[in-house]
Symmetry: C2
């Protein structure tokens, strides 16, 4: 019994890494477009139903975070708003809006890579997905491929800082 | 100086009621469609930019709350994700997802009618819009046309309970 449980846990870890790699592919797409590099994957019954990445700047849409995009796409594909049984993979800890959407859509489990100490709403600033007052709680697995998920964010902001410095040197107006 | 301030406050109260009435018109549209009756209006520079209401059931979209719909429409109309200067009117205290979207879109002010003690994220269960850890805070006015906003919700759920009772009497399977 115990061996079966350990094997199942091992399988889940392998699956989590497999899907997080796909979320990282999405994050890289955002990076290449100049968007903050966060990617997400929505998995339902061992199948990837939706993949997406942050598109806030290009779409000019404050709600276009990776998680919101994959939740909306999954609702559309499955033809229902209750996503019970689904797992969402995302490279960075969800913000309050996205954590709220996880609860609203009744997603079972969220797996994320790196922690967002400034605005995270799974454990850092708020714990929205596990709050007992709400009518649904989401299981959480944190720190999957944490180094890769953190590095792509650090590299993005490092490049952005350097670009701003270069602009300043050239005495050109910076863009926020 | 004091008289001018009092007059300005009075003007704001009149405006708040004027816009909340429009949000209630939206809530009524949701009611008539069988959706939980919550309506929202987004105002920018004394102009209504977007109006919307809850469409979760009909659109099969967990994110289709009134507030999300008007925020997305306003981003689209104004061609930007930063909605600084805007005020959102909504008949019920926003949930965590919508409160998060208010912060994400940098909306200045939220005005709501009735409190949601079970899932409200402005003051009831969480205070997302005023949290100092986040990089933006939203000014709050609560209780505008509170009776009308509460009554339409109570009437909706009263009718739904009665319909379920009728179905039970007829021994038909109830729909959740």
């Amino acid at each position: 019994m115990m061996i079966k449980f350990i094997l199942q846990c091992g399988d889940r870890m392998v699956d989590d890494e497999k899907y997080m790699k796909l979320a990282l592919v999405e994050a890289q797409k955002a990076f290449d477009l100049g968007e903050v590099p966060i990617g997400a994957i929505l998995v339902f019954e061992d199948e990837v139903i939706a993949a997406g990445h942050n598109m806030r700047e290009i779409w000019n849409d404050a709600t276009a975070h990776a998680e919101m995009i994959v939740i909306k796409r999954t609702c559309e594909k499955l033809g229902r708003w209750r996503l019970s049984g689904a797992t969402l993979y995302v490279t960075v800890e969800p913000c309050p809006m996205c954590a709220g959407a996880l609860v609203m859509s009744r997603i079972n489990r969220v797996v994320y890579g790196t922690t967002d100490y400034k605005a995270g709403a799974v454990e850092s600033v708020f714990n929205i997905v596990g709050h007992q007052a709400l009518n649904h709680q989401v299981e959480v697995t944190a720190g999957v491929m944490v180094d890769e998920c953190r590095l792509i964010m650090q590299e993005f902001f490092r490049q952005r800082r350097n670009a701003k410095k270069q602009l300043k040197k050239l005495s050109l107006p910076t863009q926020e």
